[in-house]
Amino acid sequence: MKLKINIILGLIKLSALANILLVYTAAFSQSTKLNMQYEKINNQQTLELNLFTEKENIPISDAKISLFLKTDKINIDLGKVITDLEGKTNFVLSDTLKIPWKFNFLAVYAGSSQLEPATKELSIKNIDLDISFKIFDDKKYIIGKGYEMLENGDNLPLNGKNIYFFSQSLFGLLPLGSGHLENGECKLEFPKNLPGDTIGNLKIIAKIIDDGEYGNVSSEAFTNWAEKKIIPVLPKRQLWTKDPPLWMFISLFILLAGAWSHYIFVFRKMIIIKKLGKEFKEE
């Protein structure tokens, strides 16, 4: 009897301990959040992932995230990535990967003893942007075209989306303006006095930014409509150049020539004195 009571008491203690442990673990395991963004620059497609704690937004570093491409039948394993110190990571989609016109990505974070698992799904339609340059009524325009790349290979013009145009400058992108896509096309007047390189070349970038359906898509093209950069010809003879200023050289020469010509005259006089002394001796 006593033994039975002891066993029951032991079990109660164990379960209590287990409950305490569970409560303890539950109290200290944090919920996490996983963000995923799609970016297409020219033809390179990238997934940008960001993992952080939900409450305090603390980035989670060194976390392994698995990526899948969801199809109707199976989930294609794309690979695994590890977050950096800022909780971020990128995954570049392979060019050889056959992706349908609408694709669903799945990112899974398995969690840890103190962090809860997290998942993120992203549904993206594959689109493309084209940039061209045309002149209408003596005015220069940037023409932006956007279209969805359908499964059957056709292109469906985009509508109702904004394309933002930029030019590449030394330290970043210079916004030029935006155009609204109608029947897959929009145009923006090319700004005047836009500086380019020495022959007027300039890179123009068209972007769709943070769209729910298409993600971030950008495309680039070059034009020679920009203002030609004039590199000033530096004068050759300066204080800091290898060849000194001419006036300095001439001044130094005159000063030295002046002093040394006097010395040469004096040395000549000394020779004459010596000769005269020799003649006096001979006399």
């Binding site: 204080l239 800091w240 000194p244 200023p245 300095m248 050289f249 130094l252 000063l255 030295l256 002046g258 002093a259 040394w260 006097h262 010395y263 005259f265 004096v266 040395f267 006089k269 000394m270 004459i272 004195i273 010596k274 000769k275 005269l276 002394g277 020799k278 006096f280 001796k281």
Partner: protein
């Protein structure tokens, strides 16, 4: 060529040419010991490198450059004074021209030695010839010093020629053979003919005329090494004339000291008279005022404008824990004490002029030190992660040894040369007072009395 008047002069100077004795012996031995100590320091520096000096990454110039400016300033001043005295045929100047010119040449030879001591890689010295940059003030200084030395040495030599010729031809003094050889070699076959006199006078006048602007330009170029550098206390528009007047002030001090010493040592009162010392005293007064004016200008404008980096330098110079006492000595005592001693007729004697000159020379050396070191200790950007001993400059025994060795070398060469050449000109016209003395002595010589 011997005539009785010049004979009297020679007899007067024979003591200077031939003086020997215990004092002279110990004097020379002491100087040689100091020079030997300097050689040992030089050897140490050569073997171990510049780490044996106080110069480091921040304070890259120290006592060597201060000594260089000090000696070159005296040299330029000596050349200017002797050239002016010769060119304007100043009647009372004959006795002091040789002293002045000798000081100028010797200081001009010793000064550049300190540059060699300051250069870390002497094996690259020839680079200045092949790769010298014309826009560099250092390049100008090197070219200018070479030009100056050639002219200066030639000027001294030409002034010596008549006396060397006279000593060559003189039999009464019974000079040693080696001296006679030297005099014969150096006298340029000079026999004091009217034709030779004319050519010699012309050559001397030409050199005197060119040496004045050359010396002024050189002193200015020396100042531009600092004036054209963007450091607090250096980048000043008045550094050119400031250095010229500082050079003249220190030069006249050294000339007065030398005159004082020679007058006492060789009993040359009849040649280096009170009148000469009075004229030197007037020069000191004028130069003290001029130098004081420039000094006041320099520091007052810096202090008043209180630009940040200059203000740091001023604080350092006025702080008695750093350079405050040195500043007081060089800029107050060095100017005011000589002025008081010399301006007040009651105090103005040959001895006080000599003492005032010593104060001037010491103060001007300190001044050169204050121009260089405090500025280099005041960086343009805050110094971080560097040892304190690298920021603050302290001269080591090597630098002190070489400084004293330079002074000893100057005195040694001076002593040696004054054993070979008369310190006062013989053949040129001499002062009226001496003429009277000569007449007295002539009588003694003819009757066989006196020496």
């Amino acid at each position: 060529m011997t005539n009785k008047a010049n004979l009297v002069s020679i007899i007067s100077f024979s003591r200077q040419l031939d003086t020997r004795g215990a004092f002279g012996f110990f004097w020379m031995v002491s100087l040689l010991l100091v020079i030997a100590w300097g050689f040992f320091a030089l050897f140490t520096q050569f073997i171990e490198g510049h780490k044996v000096t106080g110069m480091r990454d921040n304070v890259v110039w120290g006592m060597y450059i201060a000594n260089f400016i000090f000696f070159m300033g005296i040299s330029y001043a000596g050349a200017i004074f002797s050239s002016l005295l010769v060119l304007f045929r100043v009647e009372w100047s004959s006795p002091i021209i040789r002293i002045t010119q000798l000081i100028s040449v010797l200081c001009g030879l010793i000064g550049p030695l300190y540059i060699f001591l300051c250069i870390g890689r002497l094996d690259r010295l020839h680079f200045i010839l092949f790769y010298g940059r014309i826009p560099s003030p250092i390049f100008w200084d090197i070219v200018a010093i070479v030009t100056f030395l050639v002219g200066n040495i030639t000027f001294l030599y030409l002034l010596l020629v008549p006396d060397l010729a006279y000593l060559r031809d003189n039999k009464e003094l019974r000079l040693s053979k080696w001296r006679m050889k030297i005099y014969t070699f150096l006298s340029l076959n000079y026999h004091n003919t009217p034709e030779q006199q004319r050519h010699l006078r012309f050559a001397v006048d030409i050199l005197a005329g060119i040496l004045i602007p050359v010396s002024v330009i050189l002193a200015t170029i020396l100042s531009w090494i600092f004036g054209m550098t963007l450091r607090p206390g250096w980048n000043s528009t008045i550094f050119g004339p400031y250095f010229v007047f500082a050079a003249l002030y220190s030069g006249v001090g050294v000339i007065a000291i030398m005159m004082w010493v020679f007058r006492k040592r060789y009993n040359l009162k009849d040649y280096l008279t009170d009148r000469h010392f009075n004229y030197i005293a007037i020069s000191i007064i004028v130069l003290a005022f001029s130098y004081g004016y420039f000094t006041f200008n320099e520091y007052f404008t810096i202090w008043y404008s209180f630009v940040e980096w200059d203000a740091q330098l001023i604080k350092k110079l006025f702080d008695f824990k750093q350079y405050g006492w040195w500043f007081i000595f060089s800029n107050y005592i060095g100017i005011l004490v000589p002025l008081i001693l010399i301006s007040v007729p009651k105090f103005r004697t040959v001895n006080t002029i000599g003492i005032a000159s010593i104060i001037i020379v010491a103060a001007l050396w300190v001044k050169r030190y204050l121009v260089i070191v405090p500025t280099l200790e005041t960086p343009l950007f805050p110094v971080q992660d560097i040892r304190p001993e690298y920021v603050k400059y302290t001269a080591t025994w090597v630098e002190w040894a070489l400084t004293f060795a330079g002074v000893a070398l100057f005195l040694f060469l001076n002593t040696i040369l004054t054993k070979i050449i008369p310190i006062v000109q013989i053949i040129e016209p001499i002062s009226h007072k001496v003429l009277k003395r000569k007449k007295d002595l002539l009588g003694n010589v003819e009757s066989g009395e006196g020496n």
